[in-house]
């Protein structure tokens, strides 16, 4: 039963990644692209968590922790760059 639920969740997040990819390519402005990139990172964290359940190991959580931190820093620096034209003043 968990296998079916896992497959469903994998399908949902895979489709969500495709939506984000579409929004990165076709967007009205650069702000939407940054937002879509941030969502892409969060969805990939969810996919890594699902893969950890599938394999039954806790190794992937270390990886997703690293991805979460990198994603946060990169989104904040994108936002700084959009605001100031400069990341570190």
């Amino acid at each position: 039963m968990i296998d079916h639920a896992l497959t469903f969740a994998f399908a949902c997040f895979g489709l969500a990644l495709l939506f984000n990819l579409y929004r990165i390519v076709v967007a009205p402005g650069v702000v939407d692209r940054v937002l879509a990139l941030d969502t892409l990172v969060i969805n990939s964290i969810a996919l890594l968590g699902l893969y950890g359940i599938l394999e039954g190991t806790a190794v992937y959580f270390e990886a997703s922790m690293l991805i979460a931190m990198t994603g946060f820093v990169s989104t904040v620096s994108y936002a700084r760059f959009m605001l100031r034209g400069d990341v570190i003043e």
Partner: protein, 149 residues
């Protein structure tokens, strides 16, 4: 259907329900990114629904390792707390970038007082307002003293 249900234990049902709910939330969050029609509205879907979806996945994984492997891991809780802390910060930064790129003090809704929205207020404007407030406070204190004699 009945066979599946009789074979499944309560723990399996619990983990599966968390997985399905969080999958739906993740999908809705990313679909909102496509469907909603302006940037400020689009900001809501990923920062709220998707974060909830990831939180659900991580709770499901904690339950899975607790109930089936017999180990309690706190990594998932760490990731959940980190995401719940950073999602509002990211949303605020993106909203601020959008306001400064695409809006002006005239296109934003009225604040209801003499001051503009904080992000448009320059240092000189803020100093002027604060000096006026200090002046008012000083005069009212002086009036109180005078009334007391």
């Amino acid at each position: 259907m009945t066979e599946i249900l009789t074979e499944a234990s309560a723990a399996e049902i619990l983990v599966s329900v968390f997985l399905v709910i969080s999958g739906v939330f993740g999908l809705v969050g990313s679909f909102g990114l496509l469907k909603l029609d302006n940037t400020m509205a689009r900001l809501h879907a990923p920062t709220k629904a998707t974060t909830l979806g990831v939180g659900g996945i991580l709770i499901a994984s904690m339950l899975y390792f607790l109930l089936f492997e017999g180990t309690l891991s706190f990594h998932e809780l760490l990731i959940t707390i980190f995401l719940f802390l950073t999602a509002p910060v990211v949303a605020h930064f993106i909203a601020k970038a959008h306001i400064h790129r695409h809006e002006s003090p005239d296109s934003t809704p009225p604040t209801g007082c003499a001051r503009p929205w904080a992000t448009f207020e320059t240092d000189e404007m803020r100093e002027a307002v604060e000096a006026a407030e200090r002046g008012e406070a000083a005069t009212s204190e002086a009036r109180l003293k005078a009334e007391r004699g």
